[in-house]
Symmetry: C2
Subunit: 676 residues, 2 copies
Amino acid sequence: MEYQALFSPRGVAVVGSASPGKLANVLIHRLIEGGCENIYAVNPKGAGVGPVPGVSSFAPLKNLVDLAVIAAPAATVKNVLTDCGKAGVKAAVIITSGFSEIGNAAAEEEVLAVARQYGIRFIGPNCAGLVSTQSKLVATLETSPPQGNIALISQSGAVGGVFMALAKEQGLGISKFVSFGNGPDLSVIELLQYLKEDKETNVIALYLETVTQGREFMRVVRDVTLKKPVIVVKSGRTDTGQRAALSHTGSMAGSDKVFDAALKQAGAIRVESLEEMLDLCNGFSYLPPLSGKKVMILTNSGGPGVMSADKADQAGLVVADPSPDLKAALQAFLPVHAGVRNPIDLTVEGTGEEYQKSLEQALKEYDAALVLYIGTPYLRAMPVAEGVAIAAAGSRKPVVSVLQVGSDLSESLHFLRNHRLPVFPSGERAVRVLAYMAEYEAYKTRQLTVPAVAGDERCLAGKPSLLEPEAMALLQKNGIPIPEYYFAKTREEALDGCHTLGYPVVMKVVSPDILHKSDCGGVVLNIDSDDKAAQAFQTIQTATAGCDFCGVIIYPMLKGGREVILGLTRDLQFGPVLAFGLGGIYTEVLQDIALRVAPVSREEAREMIASIRTYPILQGVRGQAKADLDALADAIAAFSQLPFHYEDIREADLNPVFVFPEGLAVADARIVGAKA
Amino acid sequence: MEYQALFSPRGVAVVGSASPGKLANVLIHRLIEGGCENIYAVNPKGAGVGPVPGVSSFAPLKNLVDLAVIAAPAATVKNVLTDCGKAGVKAAVIITSGFSEIGNAAAEEEVLAVARQYGIRFIGPNCAGLVSTQSKLVATLETSPPQGNIALISQSGAVGGVFMALAKEQGLGISKFVSFGNGPDLSVIELLQYLKEDKETNVIALYLETVTQGREFMRVVRDVTLKKPVIVVKSGRTDTGQRAALSHTGSMAGSDKVFDAALKQAGAIRVESLEEMLDLCNGFSYLPPLSGKKVMILTNSGGPGVMSADKADQAGLVVADPSPDLKAALQAFLPVHAGVRNPIDLTVEGTGEEYQKSLEQALKEYDAALVLYIGTPYLRAMPVAEGVAIAAAGSRKPVVSVLQVGSDLSESLHFLRNHRLPVFPSGERAVRVLAYMAEYEAYKTRQLTVPAVAGDERCLAGKPSLLEPEAMALLQKNGIPIPEYYFAKTREEALDGCHTLGYPVVMKVVSPDILHKSDCGGVVLNIDSDDKAAQAFQTIQTATAGCDFCGVIIYPMLKGGREVILGLTRDLQFGPVLAFGLGGIYTEVLQDIALRVAPVSREEAREMIASIRTYPILQGVRGQAKADLDALADAIAAFSQLPFHYEDIREADLNPVFVFPEGLAVADARIVGAKA
């Protein structure tokens, strides 16, 4: 309901000084130019603007106005909103700045309280407004784009402005634009939910600088992307502080990396620049879904064809040669000098008809086609554009075009756009779009489930961390394989333990004071006799003198497995986050880590395992046996549930875990509680 | 001399049918439009074109014409060139196709022979012609760009056409354009040598599909890049065949990777697309050299500023905050709401004067600046452009600008261009240019020398490969550290050897038939007694029965070092190529290899070592000692000389080499001769 008031209001009140050059005045002009009707200027003087009547209060507007666009001074916004509420206004766009962005959070809270009181929903404050092209509502200072099916939600008004200016330049149509500013009321999350159902919108573009309520954001994005693509630019990727956070497993979840993982898990497409975002919007806005990765490149010039093929290959598309049948079909009508491979090179003599027929044939076999036309000032592109349009119309597969150099490029460009055929500035950019489209379809068919989580147990009983035997017991209870172990408080118990487990064994100190056991002589490996066991106990006790010594934990020596690391931490925005990598140097030097927002299913755990660069090592190289990846996936999935079962776990590291050809065992565990 | 005939001819003869629509006719029109004088049409009918007189033979043109532009049928080109020669023509552009590109190499040879006979130099055949803007020579069908200081050499006429069309669009000026086509006479190498000295040219752009005479090409590029930047696009990067070649060390030199290494060694900048190439030309064409990596970003909007900072950071630039002094200087005139960090955010209220003053202050401390102006349809960019121009004029440091959204962008864009200040479509693209410019300056100051190589010895005496003791002796002779070893033909000799070296030892089969010694039981490790030595000898002899058994080689067991691999192979175009990587999984799974065209100096070897991702492992992680990188660099440099000293070495692998905290030792060597 409130969305109709926001995007298709019966009447719009613009609040603020209506003098020429003032914000409210400009906004009114923009609304008029956009074709909006039933506009009212609200200001103390009751001054109108051109055909727009002015009033000095909301009283006369009762039930005439659904939306207030507020450009009044910050100090007055609260009272304006009260008046709005009394007059039955249901939605507001608060352009005015001077709230939480300059530290004035209290004023923003007050505005929110008034809005809640009267049931008003609003965007802003400190925003650049909104656009709803279908209802001819241009309530922004930014460029007004043509109508279309791309929605843009932007945390930065300026970025929104640049996006829309570029969209207009490129002939891309917008359904809705929302600059949400500080966003204490209508958030990205709610706007995404609305846009999911919005019939005017087929593609959603999102510019973000910060994310709040990460898990809810993720849930909604996951929901939306099953229906419509969501393309995201988030800035602040390389904040020095974030990189500094990557120092050890638990905190490898530097928050931009977490955001990146969350977006991928939720099926959104993160890109690096507005240019890429617009290219993708162009593709998704016009093209049918891409059902596979096989792309035919059709060109009239070798060089640009090869450059596009290179890029397509790098981007994961398949530039396979035509089948013998297709080759024969092409050779039946193409001249001998044409190259019938992939790219098909029609040479500079390629005609519109040859483009058309080749494309018709190719689209029977390929999932998509890239058409390159490189002219000279003396060649005409229109016959080619016409041929492409005919061929594309007879197929339900994506066709992207590139037109470079020629006397009639602009005419051909518009002709193709009018036939809903996107044109890109270069073959490299066109194939990048196809590659993302193929990935999006693959994501949609993958259908990974998010495991249910439940439980509000606690496991630390207020202690800063679990002792190793406690941690091992907890893991075992939660289905994560651990080795046999023996907890011994005295030398005699230790010897008993060694006998129970059988030599050789490893012995480690158990103390709440000691986090890095190896560093202080608290670990003895390869103990193979009673003498050595007794000596080890003595060594450990001596080495850790001064600490609260609880005893030792004894394991059989583990051998022949691959070492991996599992980590869990709690991200401020996304909650529990899971890290996985190979042990030792691979994690430390190569930073070859897979991150996911927890929990993950067994299937997602398998994807995680396969996503690291060093995956072949787990699969077995140089004659080594393959690690038990099913057992590993099960352990990862089970481990990812821990912070949900036990709300007092802040961080957990299993480092290392030995993965054997059959089964696995956790060789060390650190489980740390929430800070008091 | 011939270059003056090519680029500034006294007269130009265009050869071929002059009928309307024919190639020669169009070429004549283009020459006239370009402002060229003294044009003659040469065709059997002696037909002129407009003001251009026609002649039916070259006889009347004797000593009037330096350059012939030939668009006559392929079969006639040889005779045309003969006539040219007799009339004193010194240079030719052969547009005509139908030569080696369609398999007709013989005709091309004939044309070359005639040209040599008469001392004519030519570009083409099968080319798109040339442009020399200074002498108003437009002998091409492609777009004619404005005059400027960028030279373009392109193997593809169409790519050249696209480049020039885009250059014109972006207001970039060209000095020379050469499409060299099949290029049997004037090659890229000679053209580069000419452009190095060409006063009209400050930047060289190069589009290549294939490279011949790789080492000579590299030598010339190295020479040119010390004076002018060379920016290269080479297509065919991901040819499936090339990837297939990456299966083992020796052939890791898939030729595109070699090309990539060669370009880097020679100081050229390889980019992936024409877009990037044009961006770089824009930067290098207008900007003073970038002396460091510290960049200030000056913006009136947060989002685009952060996006540019992200990209700058990723590209290796330094986006450091201002010093306290600079902060104070900025705060002295900026309003309180402006953000005085990096980026400096003047906010939407930023004035031209604030841009100017901030830039003036920032350029005192930073090596370069990026100016972002994000307007709305109601803001004017001109005051900002004027402020930027004033500040930039007072500094010798590079200033790049981005103008987005606004009522007068085009005016401001032209204003900045007229002040030789490049403008880019986005901050991301602008900082990418700055990053490349910084790298280029760093390359120029690095001044690595190429070691002299000499020698025409042979070491294989016609054998397919050296036996291991022979290979070890050769390495030792060439200054590459090897372990002590003992070559034993009998069990008795083997026992003597063990005693000489001292246990424990390793014993390996020596046989010309066995390349992979471990795979067939030909290696026994950890031999620590006479019994085991005797048994090992027996085992090896039995395991390798049927092979030509020459004996065994015995080494002390090597321990405690890091394993690295060195490989040498001969690339078809670039000759000896050197590969370096960490042993085992790192090379095999991670393909973490450094490649260089050999030979390399000690300093370049150090760069090679530091360039692999796993370099930290050699530096010592987790408390392990640092490997002796000086010794390794010396060994790499010495190894890289081998194929020059011994012309019959085709491939060599040292795998592994143990690098110790002090010194190193080659633990296995394979040296293979040229195929008979």
